[in-house]
Symmetry: C2
Subunit: 324 residues, 2 copies
């Protein structure tokens, strides 16, 4: 099976040693990826943007990093300067996930920035969770998505890593809302985190939810909905940090083999989910690159550097031709 120009619309690469360890597992499967800016300090100025992009390019080949900025109160001048070099600006409600302590405390405070973004056609990428009860946070945030969609009708708003199926029904209500879905929210439930022994390696924010959410997310994705795109939210943490409770699933190594099984026989929808929808929704003009999946048993890596991948050691029926 050949996939044309697969794009991971939501990726954490970190920096330094971790980046070097994990990036080959993305670049062998994806022609491009949207790179999240939650470093310490965050990517929120030209200097950091350029040095981070350079680090990614030095460690990859035939790969396009689509850079995101971390939300702050940017001026119009700054964004005019930066807009050609970024894909989107990422909004983290303060303190909700990894390295988001500097996130935004009030949505209204960034309305002037959103005005400028709308004008300059810079998409807004959102980690959509309130500070409510862990299972309700995404559903509660639905009200914020609606408000953003209405208040900025020409701003493209991406609801990232949707784990609560309710949110996906907003896609047809508001023209300017889009969504990414991760591998783990598509294929796992809270049972995988806490149904047997506690498994910190599947703990992430937003937390993976119920079988009903999973089923409905699968239905949306299988429907080939144009506004739903794949975004892994692959988020590597060293095992010692996972054991201290860090949130994030390092899914990068197993993405295409797992999705090939999920879409089994429906290459058309797979191709849309993994690339075409994103390219059309955001007019992405990327160098094309074909990625081949072959039907051959493949075992997911047990460890990558100091990081335990999702489904470590699991057997798959498909293998990426250039498997790491």
């Amino acid at each position: 099976m050949i996939l044309n120009t697969p794009i991971d619309m939501h990726l954490h690469l970190r920096e330094g040693k971790i980046l070097k360890d994990v990036i080959p597992y993305t670049t062998n499967q994806f022609a491009a990826a949207v790179i999240m800016p939650n470093l310490i300090p965050p990517v929120d100025n030209r200097e950091k943007l350029e040095s981070y992009k350079a680090e990614i390019l030095e460690n990859s080949e035939n790969f396009t990093p689509l850079m995101n900025l971390f939300m702050r109160e940017y001026t119009e001048e700054e964004l005019l300067d930066l807009s050609e070099d970024i894909f989107a600006i990422k909004l983290y409600p303060a303190g909700i996930t990894t390295n988001s302590e500097n996130g935004v405390k009030s949505i209204e405070a960034i309305y002037p920035v959103l005005e400028i973004m709308q004008e300059l056609d810079i998409p807004l990428s959102v980690h959509g969770e309130t500070n409510g009860f862990v299972l309700d946070r995404e559903r509660e945030f639905g009200a914020v998505y609606k408000k953003l969609a209405i208040d900025f009708p020409k701003l493209k708003v991406i609801m990232e890593h949707v784990g609560t199926a309710d949110l996906l029904s907003l896609l047809d209500e508001y023209e300017n809302l889009y969504a990414t879905v991760t591998l783990h929210h598509l294929l796992l439930t809270l049972d995988d985190v806490a149904g047997g022994m506690l498994n910190p390696h599947y703990f992430c924010k937003p937390i993976i939810k119920t079988p009903k959410d999973k089923m409905e997310i699968q239905k949306f994705v299988k429907s080939g909905h144009k506004k739903i795109m794949f975004g892994s939210d692959s988020a590597p943490h060293p095992i010692k940090n996972k054991l201290k409770g860090a949130a994030g699933v390092f899914s990068a190594p197993v993405i295409l083999p797992a999705l090939a099984e999920f879409f089994e026989g429906d290459n058309e929808t797979f191709q849309k989910f993994i690339s075409d929808n994103a390219r059309e929704n955001f007019n992405l003009n990327l160098p094309e690159r074909q990625v081949e999946l072959i039907e051959e048993e493949w075992i997911a890596p047990y460890i990558v550097g100091d990081i335990k991948p999702m489904w470590a050691g699991k057997k798959f029926r498909y293998k990426v031709k250039n498997a790491v």
Copy 2:
């Protein structure tokens, strides 16, 4: 404040070093406790029952262990012999929690044992969870509780460590159902486990659920409902096992200080919950012992042996007079 003969209706003491480490934190607060039988191998014969009880007595003073047996297909002869020396028989659906791999796979298989228990007036203690989705297991098990209550109308059935408030409404529908409530299901929610960083020390089965469940459980407990009794389900695991995902909260050290704050000013309901309800429901004839709580700042221990207690390091406004 003086409590008369506090009883912990659900306690895991383990054996050997762990038992020696943890038992002082129970015996300084409780006159008696119902001792769970899920050792390896389980407490399911006279020899093990006697040696385990002896181990507990050797390591305690002025303390009555109310021994439970682990459910298996006992004969009438065995139970006639054992009935005077036990409080109840504990039913674990197979594989659902710590050391329950030898549990019961089909409730019908033990109907003959339940007949004998009903006849001999031996209560049935139940870990009520199905093998369904982790958040639904207790609610789904409600059907089993109803069936047991109807099929054995004179068998006293204890719904242990209720974390799903729905189950408590069964108490008024079925005369022979009783319930225990833990400190952590009374005072925590899934947010404490997975709302911030993942906290394995608050991971238990049944898993701690929603704010709504917590609120309703609190309402039931505060109402002084006669059939609701305190059972800590305090379940010590060495930290290294908790980090591997073992289920159980070691709450023993903080129970009375935490409950004193919860019941603040309502000593009558506190006394019922912590002792009187249990003594009346099960005609327990125990040596009376008074336990004094003084209003004085007290800090919960950070560590007990190799075990991290619930609310380690937290300040309380009440202190057990004989605090360890």
